[in-house]
Amino acid sequence: MRRRPGIGGLQSAAAARDQYRLLGENVAKIRTDMMKEQLATFRNQLEDFARKHKNDIRKNPAFRSQFHEMCAKVGVDPLASNKGFWAELLGIGDFYYELGVQIVDICLATRPHNGGLISLQELCRLLCQRRKSAREAVSEDDCLRAISKLKVLGSGFEVISVGKRKLVRSVPTELNKDHNEILELAQAQGFVTVEEVEKRLSWPSGRVVDALDTLLDEGLAMIDKGHRDGIPRYWFPCVSSIASIVGV
């Protein structure tokens, strides 16, 4: 296009730019509106769904876990705030806060026995035992969710995977790779011997003894010198369900 000279040309170019801008703004606004509308619809649907299945969500752990999954997919966190609509509607926030408190309680009570490391399974079992009176059942998934909320407090609650098992750690001890491997080995029988670790993991004995000593010091292992063969065994209360024995 040939550039048109004079003040008229400049003015018409500015007018065109304005027009374009207006149009663009319009389109963007329409898009946002549509988006808002969709989100509102979606939210309504989700609320309706939650309202309709309120009892299922509260009482059925499997259903609850699926509901959480659905919420996560669309970026809604029912636990994000206790004041939000979700908490009012479902009481879900309170449910997990309560669970969190009970989990802390159990971890503290069993700590002298297991050194602050407890298997998720065991924790869940103790939790159910303690909540016997409450009507809602609790799944491992619920435990994990409650624990993830505890992290906010910076109290060092953490879930670690050892082999196939999940362990909940309530002490700030850092377990290194060596310790993890020993714990994994111990899952078979509940205990290990120095010789067994040497053989299975092909470590020099110094490394084995070192790792086992640390585990003893941390209260995660107990030594047993009472077997007939005279070989000391290192037992790990956190991998046997024996943790329930004491103090809970």
Partner: protein, 179 residues
């Protein structure tokens, strides 16, 4: 759950490392605590007053997991009871231990309660009657250790609640209550 007669054994009794004195302090403290409770509980329900360290004692061995407590461990657990006033060595060599699942003071209270419940406030009884007589049947006093009973009675005598007197022979002692 494993049982000894009517007595329910705690779970830890089946966990082998509890039969080895733990080297790490915190772990050992917990271990000692559990054993203390177990020993007191067992002695109370079975009315056992003396434990002889190197003799068979049902709690010191668990055939199910093939473990038994070492002499050192036995002594450690009993010493812990002693430091709390719940037991006493009966000899210098620490071979015999008197277990006080009730303290002497508690035994004395027990006697007073027994006297009041049975309207014996001004009566005379022999020591043997208190330990094995019909009146005490079904109470904590029945079958109690003679030495412990005498100590509780002497405590009460000191407080003026009764008078101990000797009969014709040494094992024929009696008490006159005066509440």
């Amino acid at each position: 759950m494993q049982k000894l007669g009517e007595f329910k054994l705690p779970h830890f009794f089946n966990y082998p490392p509890y039969f080895t004195l733990q080297p790490v302090r915190d772990t050992r403290e917990k271990q000692v605590q559990l054993w203390k409770e177990l020993i007191l509980d067992y002695c109370r329900t079975q009315k056992i007053f003396t434990i002889i360290l190197d003799e068979e004692f049902p709690l010191f061995t668990n055939p199910v997991i093939d473990r038994s407590l070492s002499h050192e461990a036995r002594e450690a657990f009993l010493s812990a009871l002693i430091s709390e006033g719940r037991a006493e060595w009966m000899d210098k060599g620490h071979k015999k231990c008197l277990v006080l699942w009730l303290r002497i003071q508690d035994w004395a209270d027990c006697i007073l309660r027994f006297v009041k419940d049975n309207g014996l406030e001004d009566s005379v009884m022999t020591i043997e009657e208190i330990r094995t007589g019909i009146e005490s049947r079904g109470t904590e006093l029945h079958g109690m250790d003679r030495n412990v009973l005498m100590r509780a009675l002497r405590l009460l005598e000191h407080k003026g609640k009764l008078a101990i007197f000797k009969g014709t022979s040494a094992d024929d002692e009696g008490v006159k209550f005066s509440l």
